[in-house]
């Protein structure tokens, strides 16, 4: 038994054993005092809606919730950049006592007049859930007064985890869907769901789809636009990435408009290629399929030789993964394998039982699989497995660096595109640049290993 793991978390950490799938306990509330890496409902909503660049994003709450999410993601826009500003009602004690509705109304009017957004998302926070401000009513009043659709996002922080926030964000977006004109949308059209255009990723992906003759109606939400979302029900297919941030929206669109969806991932060569083939298969178009093969061949021929160079350097190195959603972990496992590396630990904040089962299927014997882990456990895993590189987000980074372990940023604020074919090359370069750095020779961990070898 690993002493870093709390008793009530023992079933949330397993080791892959050949032939037997063990149930990973998950989808539980974080244990109090465990220093979970998870965030809250508000965080889930905020990350999903954040990239909609021509909407006003007003956080109705105390200043913290807004200020900690100011310009937090590397979600690029090709036009307006309203999403990069941080708006708050900065609730004060008197608002808590007398209610914050008047302040919210006035703030919305002020900001809409100032910025002329295409729509306004109004995020609820913990405190609003307690004092009971009626966001629905305020938003209705504001919409009537300004003509700009104001939409409440039911993202009270304590009402679940990040996943609940995804659902709230999808519910908010769904209120826009169906209100735009779809007349000129061709049949061979899709919406891209669940890519957030970090470092321009959605632009690369759009280009690939356009190359095979597809029209992209709406990016949801990377480089997103309100008017595109209003008419996205005119697309023939929803192509959904990610563990489920936008799956709920796709499900609602299926029910309401009969639009089917497929799930894809744009990380790693295989998954990226499959994403293109899957769309071509859906439309049952020979010419499109031919173009898809051509595009994949072309892209691969550009990156493959260089990937092989990285592979030679990285062969046999050990990697650990800890990410938000487990879906991303699948692709990372495959991507590391492509580089000849061994994944010895993989975990996520919000994975589901079936996702953890699938992770067991694709990992090697002895691989640690963990749900809702924490710094204490992660440090112990890095040490136990003598990991060469850890991939995760901002909160995981110092865990690796403190122990002198290489790190790859796979977070929301990254500056390097990691999706798509070129993204795979960037990913390989990121891993290579960290693992092969000469600085690790000075780290106490390496000293110690050497000393023990010399003994």
């Amino acid at each position: 038994m690993n002493s870093a793991i709390l008793e009530e978390r023992q079933e949330q950490v397993i080791r892959k054993a050949e032939g037997t799938a063990v149930k990973v306990s998950c989808d539980k509330d974080s244990a109090a005092g465990a220093i979970s890496q998870r965030a809250c409902v508000f965080c889930g909503s905020r990350v999903v809606l954040y990239p909609i660049a021509d909407a006003l994003h007003l956080v109705h709450g105390p200043i913290g919730c807004a200020v900690y999410t100011w310009d937090i993601r590397g979600a690029l826009s090709s036009g307006p950049e309203l999403h990069r500003l941080s708006f708050s009602t900065d609730i004060q004690e008197k608002d808590v006592i007398f209610g914050g509705e008047t302040k919210l109304y006035n703030a919305l009017i002020e900001l809409i007049e100032r910025h002329k957004p295409k729509a306004a998302f109004v995020y609820s926070t913990c405190i609003v859930g307690i004092i009971g401000d009626d966001l629905e009513a305020v938003c209705k009043k504001v919409t009537e007064a300004t003509g700009v659709t104001a939409i409440p996002v039911q993202s009270e922080g304590f009402k679940g985890n990040k996943r609940a926030g995804y659902t709230a964000a999808c519910n908010a977006m769904f209120r826009l869907v169906g209100s735009g004109d779809t007349a000129d949308i061709p049949v061979k059209s899709i919406n891209i769901l669940g890519d957030f255009n970090l470092a321009g990723e959605i632009w690369m992906i759009r280009e690939l789809y356009e190359k095979i003759g597809i029209t992209v109606v709406a990016n949801i939400t990377g480089d997103g636009r309100v008017d595109d979302i209003r008419r996205c029900h005119g697309a023939s297919l929803n192509v959904v990435q990610c563990s489920g941030a936008t799956m709920h929206l796709a499900n609602m669109m299926k029910k309401e408009y009969g639009i089917p969806s497929i799930r894809v991932s744009y990380f790693g060569i295989e998954d990226m290629a499959d994403s293109i083939y899957a769309v071509a298969d859906f439309f049952q178009d020979k010419e499109m399929k031919r173009k898809a093969r051509e595009v994949v061949r072309q892209e691969l021929s550009e990156i493959y030789p260089r990937l092989q160079e990285y592979k030679r350097a990285l062969q046999g190195k050990k990697a650990a993964i800890y990410v938000g959603g487990a879906f991303k972990a699948f692709s990372l496992v495959k991507a590391f394998r492509l580089l000849g590396m061994n994944v010895v630990m993989v975990g996520s904040q919000t994975g589901t039982e079936s996702e953890y089962r699938e992770l067991q299927e694709i990992t090697d014997e002895g691989t640690i699989i963990a749900d809702d882990s924490n710094p204490l456990e992660l440090s112990s895993f890095l040490k136990e497995k003598d990991v060469d590189i850890f991939v995760g987000g901002v909160k995981e980074r110092p865990i690796a660096y403190k122990l002198g372990v290489a790190f790859c940023d796979h977070n929301h604020e990254r500056k390097e595109a990691l999706a798509g074919f070129k993204g795979m090359l960037n990913f390989a370069r990121e891993v290579y640049s960290s693992v092969l750095s000469p600085v690790w020779q000075f780290m106490p961990r390496k000293y110690k290993n050497q000393e023990s070898r010399n003994d």
């Binding site: 465990a34 220093i35 709450g61 919730c65 919305l108």
Partner: protein
């Protein structure tokens, strides 16, 4: 547009806040708790607060920053967070063996009305009374009032209130230093000064190692360093307290508490940034120790003054915007007026009601009447204000970068947070050495701008 920009102290003219120049109260408390030896910061609220703050703090210090949370869910919000808080305390104790758990409340738990003292009393009654349990120090930090600085000071005061004790064995009286929220490099400098002046100083909090530690072979449950708890207990016996900061309310002041409760005289000093404020700091120490300032620091002062002569011309009359935490703004503004830079706008998201007076006092008569001083403001309003001021420099934390970029002027990064550069924790602000660092940085920023903008690209200054 009808605006009242000439009424400083009134706070913003707007209802909404855009790009705030402040952080929330519990954040400050967690930072203060991180500076106590063996302490674990703990937030009583929903999981997101702890995670967001950790991420924000990690991005500045590039250090692990664990903050435990009671992770309240919907049921807890209705029926009370007591059980989760107790469970969390138990788990933190079992896994991290802390000496102290600093528990800060959040907007959620303040509003649902959790009675922390009562919950903690119940918790203590249910645990073994064999000395194995950590000290529990609660502090009320509702995020809907004040800023991270009020949270920081409230936590420091709460720790003193809970720990300082006159019944401990009386040791030789030391000096308490309450530095406020300065950098790890600043704290290291303070320790060096104390050592050189042969003062037994208790610096609370001390983040010099906990938030700027070495690479390790074994990860630590709680980073080493911080103010030892035994020393905090003895603060009651100190001969004096030095408290940095010009805008701290008495009810949040640890120095005032020590004075009222234990009759330890409190010397309130401005944050020792610049020459006069550093002089004041060293002369206070001299008075207390009855020994002259060590030659090492007089030499540092001498070199600083010498460099002012070397560099004064390049910055004279340059117009600067200073923003950030109120006490930092006060101290930096005073320093700028000492070296011939003209502060045109001094701004803070904080709202102590004391900013203007504090700046005027700190600058003596050196401040231009037109200098705009604004509390309770944000970056949106600052951008409007600077439009007519054509500043040459921005001085403050990294969140001013967008404004500097828009204005195409240099930004000199100081304070917290610095999210877009490496080494924010190693910036030295205080003492003659800190002033030297800031002066060189300021002059060189002006020279860089001039050189880059010049069609010639001169090779000499």
């Amino acid at each position: 547009m009808t605006k009242h920009i000439k009424t400083p102290g009134k706070g913003s003219n707007y209802i909404s806040t855009t790009n705030a120049c402040k952080l929330c109260k519990p954040m400050g408390a967690t930072l203060a708790f991180r500076g106590i030896e063996g302490a674990m910061p703990f937030l009583h609220g929903s999981q997101g607060c702890a995670t967001y703050m950790r991420r924000y703090i990690i991005s500045h210090f590039n250090e692990p920053m664990d903050i435990a949370s009671s992770s309240l869910g919907e049921k807890n919000a209705i029926f009370g967070g007591g059980p989760n808080l107790k469970e969390g305390l138990k788990n933190v104790t079992a896994k991290f063996y802390p000496q102290l758990i600093g528990i800060a409340t959040t907007c959620l738990t303040e509003t649902i009305g959790d009675d922390l003292p009562m919950i903690l009393h119940e918790y203590k009654s249910s645990t073994a009374d064999d000395g194995s349990q950590p000290l529990l120090v609660p502090v009320s930090t509702p995020s809907y009032s004040g800023t991270h600085m009020e949270g920081f000071h409230a936590a420091v005061r709460a720790v003193i209130n809970a720990l300082a004790d006159k019944t401990t064995d009386i040791k030789a009286g030391g000096i308490n230093i309450l530095p406020g929220f300065v950098s790890p490099a600043d704290i290291r400098h303070l320790k060096e000064i104390a050592l050189d002046c042969t003062i037994k100083a208790t610096i609370l909090p001390d983040i010099s190692e906990t938030l700027d530690g070495p690479a390790l072979a074994e990860s630590e449950l709680i980073p080493h360093g911080g103010t030892p708890i035994a020393d905090i207990k003895e603060m009651a016996h100190a001969t004096a307290t030095l408290e940095f900061g010009s805008t701290i309310a008495d009810e949040l002041s640890g120095g005032v508490l020590l004075s009222e409760k234990f009759s330890v005289p409190c010397h309130k000093l401005p944050v020792p940034i610049g020459i006069s404020a550093s002089d004041q700091f060293f002369s206070t120490i001299t008075t207390l120790t009855k020994s002259p300032t060590p030659a090492k620091y007089l030499e540092e002062r001498g070199r600083l003054i010498d460099s002012l002569a070397d560099g004064h011309k390049y910055i004279f009359g340059k117009k600067a915007v200073v923003y950030g935490e109120e006490d930092l703004v006060v101290a930096l503004t005073a320093f700028l007026t000492e070296i011939g830079i003209k502060p045109v706008l001094c701004a803070s998201g904080g709202k102590s009601g004391k900013l203007k007076t504090a700046i005027q006092t700190a600058c003596k008569n050196a401040l231009d009447e037109e200098t705009e001083i604004h509390e309770g403001t944000d970056f949106y309003e600052m951008a409007e204000l600077v439009a007519g001021l054509s500043p040459d420099l921005l001085i403050g934390h990294s969140k001013g970068y967008q404004l500097a970029r828009k204005l195409q002027i240099p930004i000199i990064r100081v304070g917290f947070p610095i999210h877009d550069r490496l080494g924010g924790q190693r910036i030295l602000h205080i003492g003659y050495r800190g002033a030297q660092n800031l002066f060189d940085t300021l002059v060189n920023a002006v020279l860089t701008k001039k050189q880059d903008d010049s069609p010639v690209g001169y090779s000499y200054m």
